[in-house]
């Protein structure tokens, strides 16, 4: 294992230290591993909190700031944060208008955010949660833990964040976040496995000439393992899997092509060109697009495609000012 770290045991603490050093506008609570906006909370604004295992950066701490999250809880690598972290974040950013938890659908995240919500409510804070479960690679959601939460999370954080910034109440922000979550779909592909710092070797074996179609962001297996193929054919598989799962016709679409951490931007743009062409061929209008590393899986090579069936309101909120470490425009 070759990694730019001091030691596997300190990688998360070291990274939080770096976040604090690089972004003076953020507040980092090292004991609770919570990154929040440094500015005083805006009284009466619904607060948005997300969190999850580390290793998916910039998700979630990279999306803390004006127009997106109020706080992010960082768990150990690929491990959900704990209820006490979430409770600390809740107490830090609650501004009297309630708190929305944005939760990716993994057993650990769901259980810990549930416990946190119970604790926060016992302390008199109103909490609502939105679950993101957008990974179309999981076909059998009855006999599994359900669809995994992946790229749509970023879009929920942006759009619901803008709505909260406008001063909407918790019910309205929750309803909007739910609508975004329900209308987003994603699918990923891995060219290589990720290597966890604490483990030191790849999480799964993927032969040099094979790819995992439908991989999860922790290296969960996808739909199938197939021979390596040109980007255009991979794009075709991702696009058709997503389009056959949800109706994207006749609506503006927000597309996000995210790298998984180990793939250069030139390749991401190359495959995005193919994705855009395929969508155009099928009469889908991409109104906004985002290409880059937004939800990653450590050093995994590959990408994930997320499409959101948007509407005018979502587009307006998407365009609203945002000022975070990883997403910044109009502010």
């Amino acid at each position: 294992m070759k990694k730019l770290i001091n030691s596997p045991a300190t990688v998360l603490a070291d990274a939080l230290n770096g976040v604090a050093a690089a972004h003076h506008e953020l507040a980092v609570d090292f004991a609770n591993r919570v990154v929040s906006r440094g500015a005083a909370v805006k009284q009466g604004k619904v607060a948005l909190i997300s969190g999850g295992g580390s290793g998916h950066e910039p998700l979630h701490s990279g999306f803390v700031g004006l127009g997106m999250l109020d706080a992010a809880c960082a768990g150990e690598v690929f491990t959900s944060p704990t209820p006490d972290q979430m409770l600390a974040a809740t107490m830090t950013v609650n501004a009297g208008a309630g708190v929305l938890y944005i939760v990716k659908n993994y057993t650990g995240d769901v259980l810990n955010f549930e416990m946190a919500a119970e604790l926060a409510e016992a302390d008199g804070v109103q909490v609502k949660s939105v679950l993101v479960a957008d990974d179309v690679a999981v076909e059998d959601s009855t006999w599994t833990a359900g669809r995994r939460g992946v790229g749509t999370t970023v879009l929920v954080e942006k759009i619901a964040g803008a709505a909260a910034e406008e001063g909407r109440d918790l019910d309205a922000v929750h309803a909007l976040a739910t609508r975004v979550s329900e209308n987003g779909r994603s699918m990923g592909v891995a060219l290589t496995s990720a290597t966890l710092p604490a483990v030191g070797k790849p999480s799964f074996d993927l032969p040099e000439d094979e790819i995992e179609m439908g991989v999860g962001i922790h290296g969960e297996p996808g739909r199938k393992r197939v021979p390596l193929r040109p980007a255009s054919e991979i794009a075709e598989e991702l696009v058709s899997s997503i389009l056959s799962d949800h109706d994207f016709s006749g609506a503006p679409v927000i597309a996000m092509l995210s790298g998984l951490g180990g793939t250069p931007l030139i390749e991401l743009y190359a495959i995005y060109g193919d994705v855009a062409a395929l969508l155009e061929q099928r009469g889908i209008t991409v109104a906004r697009a985002l290409v880059g590393d937004y939800i990653t899986s450590l050093d995994m090579a590959g990408c994930s495609l997320t499409l959101l069936r948007a509407d005018e309101e979502m587009l307006r909120l998407w365009d609203a000012p945002v000022s975070t470490a990883a997403l910044r425009w109009g502010a």
Partner: protein, 219 residues
């Protein structure tokens, strides 16, 4: 000769159990992570070891006064240090047991069996897993049944705990052919069969630790 201690679990017995659990987790951490890398995300050993070490430290630094306080401290510590699903599920197991035993200073077989049943019911409610889903429940439910049978039959505590450990181990081994329906392993579908479940494996270590630590203390 059967001593008086063989009918009850004291505060010190419970602490000895959790210290032994930490030793067992440390000893088997690598194996747990290996099992988890086959069907999960390769962190079960690391995460559990972080949690049991914290439990051990907390209980040995400040000895709680009653059984409920030991179990509650253990539960809270696991929830806040393990993370993931395991932290909240193991935490719930101990927190529910703590609620059931309250401020008792000693637990006899019947009370312990009852508390363990409440703890496992809490885990089932939180995790929404049933026996046969290839989870820790597959080791914990047989433990509950063995303890209840032993309590009803008036079996001495040491023997009851040994029977519970054997039941947990059998439940653990029975996860091998199962197809996972909950947790991260469920994404593998049929590919999750022919693997031992890491959660059931650590749960069996928990029960074995109690049987072993108690047997040593009454010897």
């Amino acid at each position: 000769m059967l001593t008086l201690e063989d009918s009850r679990l004291t505060v010190d017995d419970l602490i000895a159990w959790l210290v032994r659990f930490d030793e067992q987790i440390v000893e088997h951490a690598e194996r747990l992570t290996e099992l988890d890398s086959a069907i999960g995300d390769a962190d079960h050993g690391t995460n559990m070891a972080r949690g049991t070490a914290a439990v051990r430290l907390r209980l040995t630094e400040a000895r709680p006064d009653d059984a409920g306080a030991v179990l509650k401290s253990c539960g809270m510590t696991l929830v806040s240090t393990v993370g993931g699903a395991s932290g909240s599920l193991y935490g719930t197991l101990f927190l529910e047991m703590a609620k059931r035993v309250g401020a008792a200073s000693e637990l006899d077989t019947t009370v312990f069996a009852d508390a363990f049943r409440a703890g496992v019911a809490g885990v089932v409610a939180r995790g929404r897993a049933e026996p046969g889903d290839k989870t820790m429940i597959d080791a914990l439910q047989p433990t509950v049944d063995a303890l209840s049978t032993a309590a009803a039959g008036g079996v001495p505590l040491t023997k009851s705990l040994q029977a519970a450990a054997a039941a947990a181990a059998a439940g653990r081994d029975a996860t091998i052919p199962l197809v996972a329906r909950r947790g991260r392993a469920s994404y593998l579908g049929d590919r999750s069969a022919d693997h031992l479940d890491p959660g059931a494996t650590s749960a069996a270590l928990l029960v074995q630790s109690l049987a072993d630590s108690h047997a040593e203390r009454v010897r």
